[in-house]
């Protein structure tokens, strides 16, 4: 049981951090960013290149990943999403654009980083073993701790910084924020950059545990959407709750249903369908959006 809970918490912390970026972008711009998983993968590859290939310290690699993904996010918002949002009020326009960006990034990842699975040296050796009741490598514990640290830092930033307040105002009511003097375009770009940066940071954290390959983008996006649906789209606390719930469900399911093959996600999807039929806005979302 201890192992299941520990696995669930570890997975949940990662998932929550992934979902945060996605829900932030949705809240600010009403954009379903299907390329979120690809941003995560690029983050993993940037860390791989700087830490694994160039041999620079991991902290430097993680910082460089955060900066480069923030830049990439800003560029995507300014040159791709902003013109489309300006010219088209149809929501499917941004959805199609996001899907197109996902394919484009996949192709770029393949060209730049190749088809192989990549990994980096362990950042911490050793395994915590409590009489085989709980086994957890120290690097996983560290990554879990870092994920919780980044989640806390993000919440504090959103709560107390000027930029965070502006972003929250934008998420609550775009028009009202504009009328109150918030530079909507600038803060939309900052918000998108922040979301991309969060995705990149998770990629940079997890490349030390799971490695990275070009195929991880799509499935990561799907899981992120599931978490956002569970917690409630556009709600920060909902994304964290969704991540933790999905992580725990996955851990419990893989243990309980191991005898019956790969049915864990079948059960999770079925449960999610029933849940959304009862509460379509998710745990913490509002029915009116």
């Amino acid at each position: 049981m201890e192992q299941i809970i520990a696995n669930g918490l570890y997975l949940g912390a990662q998932y929550a951090l992934i979902a945060l970026g996605l829900t932030l972008i949705f809240a600010l711009m009403n954009v379903l960013n299907f390329a979120h998983g690809q941003l995560y993968v690029i983050g993993g590859f940037v860390t791989y290149t700087i830490y694994g290939q160039l041999g620079l310290p991991y902290v430097v690699a993680l910082a460089a990943t955060a900066i480069s993904l923030a830049l990439l996010g800003g560029i995507i918002e300014k040159f791709l999403f902003r013109p489309v949002i300006r010219r088209s009020s149809r929501e499917e326009s941004t959805m199609l654009l996001a899907a197109g960006i996902a394919f484009l990034l996949d192709a770029i990842i393949l060209l730049v980083f190749g088809e192989k699975q990549r990994g980096v040296p362990k950042i911490l050796n050793g395994v915590l073993n409590l009489d085989f009741r709980l086994i957890m490598p120290y690097d996983r514990i560290l990554i879990c701790g870092l994920a919780i640290f980044f989640i806390t830092a993000f919440i504090l930033y959103m709560q107390y910084s000027k930029t965070g307040r502006a972003l929250r105002a934008l998420a609550q009511d775009r028009t009202a924020a504009y009328l109150m003097g918030v530079d909507v375009e600038r803060y939309s770009m900052i918000g998108f950059a922040l979301g991309a940066m969060l995705a990149g940071i998770v990629g940079g954290l997890l490349v030390t545990i799971t490695g990275v390959n070009l195929g991880m983008g799509g499935p990561t996006s799907i899981k992120a959407f599931m978490m956002v649906m569970i917690g409630g789209a556009g709600v920060i606390s909902g994304a964290i709750a969704g991540g933790l719930i999905l992580g725990m469900m996955e851990s419990v399911g893989l243990s309980v249903f191991s005898e019956y093959g790969d049915v864990t996600y079948l059960v999770i999807f079925a449960t999610l369908m029933v849940f959304l039929a009862i509460r379509p806005q998710g745990l913490m979302g509002k029915p009116w959006g």
Partner: protein, 400 residues
């Protein structure tokens, strides 16, 4: 002024004449050899891209090598080899479209597809259009009569599995075995074949029900129930190179100290980066690039591939062979250039030196025991053990 203009005009004219001459020369050089198109239909994008990319790059590297050294001579005519590729995205519908494209281009020899359902889907198209294809898929129905156009491009798990298990039982004292596989047709069928082979050898199967999604990134929760059964041998059935290091790492970190093996080809760099020393002792199937058996031609192939694409992929050790078989068989019977029935006839008696292995190994078609007809290339069954960042040959066997 007029003089300057004339001089400029003269320069332009000289340049034009030069450009025309170079272009004409280039055309003449290209026209020197006829073109022989060989197709590739496989997955080169998405999560399984690694399967097909190592495949197609092997063909492209070999074709470039052949073309650079004057082309391939078949029946008195010299050809440059042109690899025509189609990405089926691991989708059977796309694989059919790819095979139809090959037919439209008049191609009779195709390498791929990489997976079971794609290989099964293209069969009617290949048979209708007179195409011989070399899948990396294991269903026996593709290679047994009445089917006759598919040629298995590698060693199947039901051929390599028993050899590996026998070795480990006799040499390492393995008595219990557990299987884990991705929830997809190829790995599941390989798992079922492995379970049957293990049972036939008298090994006790302690776990064979645990499967995982192909997009799993964290294997610790998945593998925990398997490790609890404490097997002597953990078999990763049909494991993709992207997943192998992660599963090995999770298993070792959970305290598993037994042997780990698979019947698919792997890449040493991927194992080193993903699992480091935790992958030491991992047993997999390879081709012919280990120092013990690689010929000078194999070493040159690896060097050329690396130069062309920046990095070698050890999976290509097995995938270098299909194009070689096609070309050598066509050389043996030039009538097969446009007549696949002639190709089939030649397969029964074909034999040529294996350029990639030291010693007197030969290229020949096998499969009589498994399929009742020669519909498999005789790739050497090289069983490797990963250690200290590279593969070492454990043993070499042959498939009949």
């Amino acid at each position: 002024m007029i003089t300057k203009r004339s001089a400029r005009l003269r320069h332009v004219l000289v340049g034009l004449v030069g450009a025309v001459a170079i272009a004409a020369g280039s055309v003449a050089a290209q026209a020197a050899n006829k073109e022989l198109k060989i197709g590739f239909v496989g997955v080169t994008s998405g999560p399984a891209a690694a399967w097909g990319i190592s495949n197609v790059r092997s063909m492209q590297a070999r074709a470039a090598w052949i073309n650079e050294t004057g082309g391939v001579k078949i029946g008195g005519t010299t050809y440059d080899v042109n690899i025509v590729t189609f990405d089926d995205q691991k989708d059977p519908k796309r694989a059919i479209a790819g095979m139809e494209k090959m037919a439209q281009e008049g191609i009779h020899y195709v390498v791929g597809p990489n997976v079971d359902d794609g290989a099964a889907a293209v069969r009617p198209v290949a048979e209708r259009n007179g195409i011989i294809y070399f899948p990396y898929a294991f269903p026996k129905a593709l290679y047994t009569k009445p089917a006759s156009n598919a040629v298995l491009g590698m060693v199947a798990n039901y051929q390599s599995g028993p050899a590996i298990y026998t070795y480990l039982k006799d040499k390492k004292g393995v008595k219990t075995v557990a299987f884990i596989a991705a929830n997809e047709s190829d790995p599941l069928s390989q798992r079922d074949g492995g379970v049957a082979a293990a049972k036939a050898l008298g090994l006790k199967v302690v776990s064979d029900s645990v499967t995982y999604q192909v997009d799993t990134t964290d294997f610790t929760p998945v593998i925990t129930p398997v490790i609890k059964t404490r097997p002597d041998l953990l078999v990763l059935s049909g494991v993709a190179p992207a997943n192998a290091p992660q599963i090995i790492r999770s298993a070792r970190e959970l305290g598993f100290q037994g042997l780990i093996s698979t019947e698919t080809a792997q890449d040493a760099t991927v194992l080193r980066e993903g699992a480091g020393s935790l992958a030491d002792g991992f047993i997999s199937v390879g081709g012919a690039s280990t120092p013990e058996i690689a010929s000078d031609a194999m070493k040159e192939f690896v060097a050329r591939y690396t130069k062309m694409f920046g990095e070698y992929n050890d999976e290509s050790n097995t995938k270098v062979y299909a194009l070689e078989y096609i070309l050598e068989t066509l050389k043996a019977n030039p009538a097969a250039m446009n007549d696949v029935e002639a190709f089939k006839t030649t397969m029964d008696t074909f034999s040529a030196p294996n350029p990639y292995m030291k010693g007197d190994a030969v290229l020949k078609y096998v499969g009589t025991s498994s399929f009742g007809q020669r519909r498999q290339v005789a790739v050497p069954l090289v069983v490797n053990e990963y250690r200290d960042g590279k593969f070492e040959t454990l043993f070499v066997a042959e498939v009949d």
